[in-house]
C-alpha cells in the first residue's frame, strides 16, 4: 500500500469535492472515508486511475451522507450540476485548499492542524502525537477549524503570505512523534512552489532546505544541541544545500526581495563556509540590515547583533545589542555569548545561567547551563 501516493492525492480529491460545491467539513469526512476504503481495498485490487477512483468514491460518500440530513435538497441540486467525472484542474483545487486551510479566520494552531490533515493527508492521531496533545483534543481542534472555514467562498485566490506563515510554523515548531513534521513542511512547500510562481514561496522553500540540510549535525545522538559554529559540516546534506541555493538564486534574480528570501540568503552564506571561521559575516550583517528593513522585528535585530559581533568584534556586537529590548527571547544567551567573545568569562557565565533560567526549550536550557558550567569549571584556553 503506497501511503505516500494516498497522501499526495488527498488534497486533490478534497479540492475537487470542494470545487463541486461540497461543504468543506462534509467533504473532508467523505475523503477520509474514501482513504480508509482505499487502504483496505487497493492491496488486493489496485485501481488503474487512483485519483479518479478516490474522487468517485469520496463524491459518492459525500452524497450518501447528504441524503440523510437536512441539506438534502441543496445536494440534489449539486448532483444535477455535477461536472464530468474526473478531476479537471487538480492544481487549482489543491491550491485553493492551501488558502482555505490557512484562512485568516483560523488561529495559527488551527490552521496548522487543518493544513496537516486536509493538505498533508495525515491522520488526526498522527497530528496529535506530533504536537503532544491527546487525540480527542486534536480531533476537536480540527473539527472546529473545519466549521470555521466551511462558509468561506473560494472564488478568488487567497493571500499566499498566510499560507507561508502556516508552513513556516509547521517547519519551525515541529515536535517529535512518528511523523517528521519538518520533512512534511518541506514536502508541502515544494508542492506549493510547483503550483505558485512567487519569489517568497521559493524563498521559504530555499530557507527550509538550507536548514533541513544541517539537521544531522544539529544534535548529538543523546539529543544535546550543537551550535552552528561547532557543527560537523561534513554531515550537512550537500544535495539539499545545492537545491536550496539554486532555488534561492532564481528567486533573488527576480528582484522582489522578501523576508524569507533574505533569511534564506543568510542560511546560504553559512552553507557556503567550509568552516565556521570562513563565514562571510560582513555579508551576513548586510542581509540582516535588509531583513530589518523588511520586518523590523526585534528577533532580527538580536540576530544582527550576533553577526555584528562576529564581523566587527564583540564590543561592536554588544553596542548593537544595547538597542534590542531585554525581553526578546534569547537576549540573555546572546549577551552571554558576546561577553565571552569579549573575554569576560565571569560575566558570560552569569548571563548563561540567567539565559538557562529563561530558556523556552529543554534542549536549549541544557545547552545554556552547560555553557555556564564550562566557564565556571574550566580554566581559560
Amino acid at each position: 500500500m503506497d501511503g505516500d501516493l494516498l497522501r499526495r492525492l488527498t488534497p486533490q480529491v478534497l479540492g475537487v469535492l470542494v470545487r463541486r460545491g461540497a461543504d468543506f467539513a462534509a467533504a473532508e469526512d467523505a475523503v477520509q472515508d474514501a482513504l480508509v476504503q482505499a487502504v483496505h481495498g487497493w492491496p488486493a485490487d489496485p485501481p488503474r486511475d487512483p485519483l479518479g477512483w478516490l474522487v468517485t468514491v469520496a463524491w459518492h460518500r459525500f452524497l450518501d451522507a447528504g441524503r440523510a440530513d437536512a441539506a438534502r435538497r441543496r445536494r440534489e441540486d449539486l448532483v444535477v450540476e455535477e461536472p464530468a467525472p474526473g478531476p479537471a484542474s487538480g492544481v487549482d483545487d489543491t491550491l485553493q485548499l492551501y488558502f482555505l486551510c490557512a484562512h485568516p479566520s483560523l488561529t495559527p494552531s488551527s490552521a496548522v492542524a487543518l493544513t496537516l490533515r486536509a493538505v498533508g493527508g495525515l491522520t488526526t492521531r498522527q497530528i496529535a502525537r506530533a504536537y503532544l496533545v491527546p487525540e480527542a483534543t486534536m480531533a476537536q481542534r480540527i473539527s472546529r477549524a473545519k466549521r470555521t472555514v466551511s462558509g468561506v467562498r473560494l472564488d478568488r485566490p487567497g493571500d499566499v503570505a498566510t499560507v507561508l506563515r502556516v508552513l513556516y510554523l509547521v517547519f519551525n515548531e515541529g515536535y517529535s512523534g512518528d511523523v517528521d513534521l519538518a520533512a512534511e513542511a518541506v514536502r508541502l512547500t515544494r508542492q506549493l512552489a510547483a503550483m505558485v510562481d512567487h519569489p517568497e514561496v521559493a524563498g521559504l522553500l530555499a530557507l527550509m532546505l538550507l536548514h533541513h540540510a544541517r539537521r544531522a549535525a544539529r544534535t548529538t545522538p543523546d539529543g544535546s544541541l550543537v551550535p552552528l559554529a561547532a557543527q560537523d559540516r561534513s554531515r550537512w546534506d550537500t544535495a539539499l544545500i545545492a537545491e536550496g541555493v539554486r532555488i534561492l538564486q532564481a528567486a533573488l534574480a527576480r528582484d522582489r526581495l522578501g523576508e524569507f528570501q533574505a533569511q534564506a540568503a543568510i542560511a546560504a552564506l553559512h552553507a557556503d563556509a567550509r568552516t565556521a571561521g570562513e563565514t562571510d559575516w560582513v555579508q551576513i550583517v548586510e542581509w540582516y540590515d535588509e531583513l530589518a528593513r523588511l520586518t523590523d522585528s526585534p528577533v532580527v535585530r538580536l540576530n544582527r547583533a550576533v553577526a555584528v559581533g562576529e564581523a566587527d568584534g564583540a564590543w561592536a556586537g554588544l553596542a548593537a545589542l544595547a538597542a534590542v529590548g531585554p525581553s526578546v527571547p534569547r537576549h540573555a544567551a546572546v549577551t552571554a555569548y558576546l561577553h565571552e567573545r569579549a573575554g569576560d568569562r565571569a560575566t558570560a557565565a552569569r548571563w548563561y545561567a540567567e539565559a538557562a533560567d529563561r530558556a523556552a526549550h529543554l534542549a536549549e536550557r541544557d545547552h545554556l547551563i552547560r555553557q555556564a558550567a564550562r566557564l565556571n569549571t574550566r580554566p581559560p584556553g
Binding site: 543523546d222 533560567d357 529563561r358 547551563i369
Partner: protein
C-alpha cells in the same frame, strides 16, 4: 494500578545531600545527569509505568479574577515564594512501595562530582475514581 506524581522542586524541598547549583558542575556532569534522566524515563516507558513527564520554566505569573468586565489581575513572580516546582513525572504503578522505589532511583541521578544528588522528590498519589465494589 495507582497513579503518582513525582514532583521536583527548584525551591521548597529540604536541601539535597549533594546540593551544588548546576552551573557549578562540569559540562560532562550535566551531560551524565541529563542522560540518567532520559534513561530513567525510557526504562519506565519500557516497563509500562510511564504516563507523562514535563519540565517547567522557573518563572511564572500569579493570576486571579478581578470582577465582571475587568481583565484578570496578574502579579509576580515573587522572589519570596517558598515552593517552586521544577517539573514532574507521572507514573502508573502497582503499589505505593513501587512508587517509592522509583522515586528513590530518580533521586539518585548523578550531580556534582558524578555523585548522586540525593535530591528530595515529593511523591503525591492521584485522587481517582471510586471502585465499583465497595462492600
Amino acid at each position: 494500578m495507582a497513579k503518582y506524581l513525582l514532583l521536583k522542586h527548584y525551591r521548597g524541598a529540604p536541601a539535597a545531600v549533594n546540593d551544588v547549583p548546576m552551573d557549578q558542575w562540569t559540562p560532562e556532569e550535566i551531560t551524565a545527569h541529563v542522560r540518567y534522566m532520559n534513561d530513567f524515563a525510557a526504562r519506565l516507558e519500557g516497563s509500562g509505568e510511564f504516563v507523562d513527564g514535563q519540565a517547567l520554566a522557573p518563572e511564572g505569573t500569579f493570576v486571579r479574577y478581578d470582577g465582571p468586565g475587568r481583565p484578570p489581575v496578574t502579579d509576580g513572580p515573587f522572589a519570596e515564594t517558598k515552593d517552586l516546582i521544577a517539573g514532574w513525572m507521572v507514573i502508573d504503578v502497582d503499589s505505593y512501595e513501587r512508587a517509592v522505589e522509583l522515586a528513590g532511583e530518580l533521586s539518585a541521578a548523578p550531580g556534582a562530582g558524578g555523585r548522586p544528588i540525593h535530591e528530595w522528590l515529593e511523591l503525591r498519589p492521584f485522587l481517582t475514581e471510586p471502585p465499583t465494589i465497595t462492600d
